[in-house]
C-alpha cells in the first residue's frame, strides 16, 4: 500500500491514485478527490511558472497529523495526499487530496477539511515568476478563515497584512 502522504517533484495520475486508494475495500461507497492546479494568472498578473519549496521532514509529519485529525473527526476509510514541489508550469497539477468513505457526506467534509488545514498549516511556500520578475506569494486571510470554520485558529496570515 502506498504511503498516505507523499511530497515529490513528479506529477501524479488521479485515476491510478484513486484506484489504489479504494482497491479491495468493499466498504467504500464514496470517493472524493480534490486536485489543485497552477493558474496562469494570480492577483491580476500573468504567471509563467510557480516554484514550491517545503521543509523536508516537517511537511510530511504535519500532513500526517492532519490525516490523523481527519480520521478522528470523520467516518472515513482511507486518505491519500500528494503534494508536488519544485518548478511547475501553468495548468500543472500541484496537490491531490483523496478520501474514501462509506457515504459521500463524510468524504466531502474530510477532503475539504484536509485542504483547508493544509493551506495554512503545512510548510510550503510558493514563488511566482511573471513578467515583472519573481515574487513570493502572500498568505491569504481567507485561508485562515476557511480553517476557522472547523474550529481551528490558523494564525498564519492573520497579522501578515
Amino acid at each position: 500500500m502506498a504511503a498516505r502522504v507523499e511530497i515529490r517533484e513528479g506529477d501524479f495520475d488521479l485515476a491510478a491514485e484513486v484506484a489504489a486508494l479504494r482497491q479491495g475495500d468493499g466498504g467504500v461507497g464514496a470517493v472524493v478527490a480534490f486536485v489543485g492546479t497552477v493558474r496562469d494568472r494570480n492577483d491580476g498578473s500573468a504567471v509563467a511558472s510557480l516554484e514550491l519549496e517545503h521543509y523536508p521532514g516537517m511537511t510530511e509529519a504535519a500532513i500526517e497529523a492532519m490525516v490523523d485529525e481527519a480520521t478522528r473527526r470523520f467516518e472515513i476509510r482511507a486518505v491519500r495526499v500528494v503534494h508536488r514541489v519544485g518548478v511547475l508550469a501553468p495548468l500543472a497539477q500541484i496537490v491531490l487530496v483523496a478520501v474514501t468513505a462509506a457515504h459521500r457526506s463524510q468524504a466531502f467534509q474530510a477532503c475539504e477539511f484536509l485542504m483547508d488545514y493544509l493551506k495554512t498549516q503545512a510548510p510550503f511556500w510558493k514563488k511566482e515568476a511573471g513578467p515583472d520578475g519573481v515574487r513570493w506569494v502572500d498568505a491569504r486571510v481567507a485561508d485562515d478563515a476557511a480553517l476557522a470554520r472547523w474550529g481551528i485558529a490558523a494564525g498564519n496570515a492573520a497579522d501578515a497584512r
Binding site: 503534494h83 496537490v95 510550503f124 513570493w136
Partner: protein, 83 residues
C-alpha cells in the same frame, strides 16, 4: 546550549539554509530570533520584527514563547502558502 536554526523561502534567500546558534539556558524561539537580529545587517533585515514570520520547534509549528532545549531545531519562515 546549541540550537540548529533553519531558514526557508525569503528568509533562506537572505541568510542561507541555516546555522548553529549558541544560546543561554532558558532560551525561547523569540530570544533566538532577537539574538540573530542583534547581529545587524542581513539578519536584522530578514528576521526583524517588521517581518511577519512563523516558527517551528523540532519541526512542529510553535509560538515564539516556546522554550528550547539543547540540540533543538528551530525554523524561521514566512507565512505558509501551500495547497
Amino acid at each position: 546550549m546549541n540550537v540548529a536554526v533553519r531558514y526557508f523561502a525569503a528568509v533562506r534567500e537572505a541568510l542561507g539554509s541555516g546555522e548553529d546558534v549558541e544560546v543561554g539556558a532558558g532560551a525561547t524561539v523569540a530570544s533566538v530570533r532577537d539574538a540573530l537580529v542583534a547581529r545587524g545587517g542581513r539578519h536584522a533585515e530578514a528576521l526583524g520584527r517588521a517581518r511577519v514570520l512563523r516558527s517551528a520547534r523540532n519541526r512542529v509549528l510553535c509560538a515564539e514563547d516556546a522554550l528550547l532545549a539543547d540540540g533543538d531545531e528551530v525554523g524561521f519562515f514566512p507565512p505558509l502558502t501551500g495547497g
